[in-house]
């Protein structure tokens, strides 16, 4: 199975010019950029730090996913939270693997709890890697 695109990923909010978009930084901390080509507000998950090259498609870095932003402030806030979580996915997987190694090597603990936690960590890692635990 092909491994996922290496992280880190980051969040870039695309705001159409007709909606008053501005390049800069959103209050939530991610970058924003204006699009002159219209379309809906959306959030792009990108695999590079150079957002200008991403947007204009030089092939430097890559596009991971698009998170649509529904109308409404609450819906926008949740879309941003979803995008933030998606952008952390590669990092979450790496840290899950570190946790697994640590828990497996730890001693002097309740074995039943250790086994249960390891099973949950293994399940999440397998899911993220597209494998059956």
């Amino acid at each position: 199975m092909t491994p996922p695109t290496p992280g880190p990923y980051r969040v870039l909010e695309i705001i159409p010019a007709e909606r008053g978009g501005l390049c800069g930084r959103a209050p939530e901390g991610h970058d924003t950029i204006t699009s002159d080509s219209g379309g809906d507000c959306r959030i792009e998950i990108l695999s590079t730090t150079d957002h200008m090259r991403d947007v204009f498609g030089s092939g430097h870095g890559g596009h991971i996913a698009t998170v649509p932003i529904p109308l409404g402030l609450a819906a926008r806030a949740q879309a941003i939270a979803n995008a933030r979580l998606l952008a952390a996915a590669a990092n979450l997987l790496a840290v899950c693997k570190m946790q697994r190694e640590f828990i497996e090597s730890a001693r002097n603990m309740d074995n039943a709890v250790q086994v249960a936690v390891l099973a949950d960590v293994d399940g999440a890692i397998a899911l993220a890697e597209g494998k059956t635990p």
Binding site: M1, T2, P3, P4, T5, E28, G29, I45, G62, H63, I64, A65, T66, V67, P68, A74, A77, Q78, I80, A81, N82, A83, R84, L85, L86, A87, A88, A89, A90, N91, L92, L93, A94, V95, C96, M98, Q99, F102, I103, A106, R107, N108, M109, V113, Q114, V117, D120, V121, G123, A124, I125, L127, A128, E129, G130
Partner: protein, 88 residues
């Protein structure tokens, strides 16, 4: 701070131009560019939940090497903060 849409998130079953990640109610979370990125993205909510659970466990247990434990917990906390925007 607003939380993410509740998991589990899963890939939509069926042919589409690009794979979709949806929540349990069938609402689109994201449109993914390439298939090989779908599993890790769709598993985000599962990984975050397990990371928090395992963090509690690691925090409780003793370690032969406290420096390793402290460093790991710091990495876990950074990952949770990055994923949620909130310090654990």
């Amino acid at each position: 701070m607003t939380e993410h849409t509740n998991g589990p998130w899963r890939q939509r079953v069926g042919p589409t131009t690009h794979p979709l990640i949806e929540d349990e109610r069938g609402r689109t979370i994201a449109v993914v560019s390439v298939q090989h990125d779908v599993p890790v993205l769709a598993a985000s909510t599962d990984m975050l939940a397990v990371l928090k659970q395992a963090r509690e466990f690691i925090d409780l247990i003793g370690s032969d090497d406290d420096a390793v434990q402290i460093a790991l917990l710091a990495d876990v906390d950074r990952a949770i903060a990055r994923a949620t925007g909130v310090q654990p």
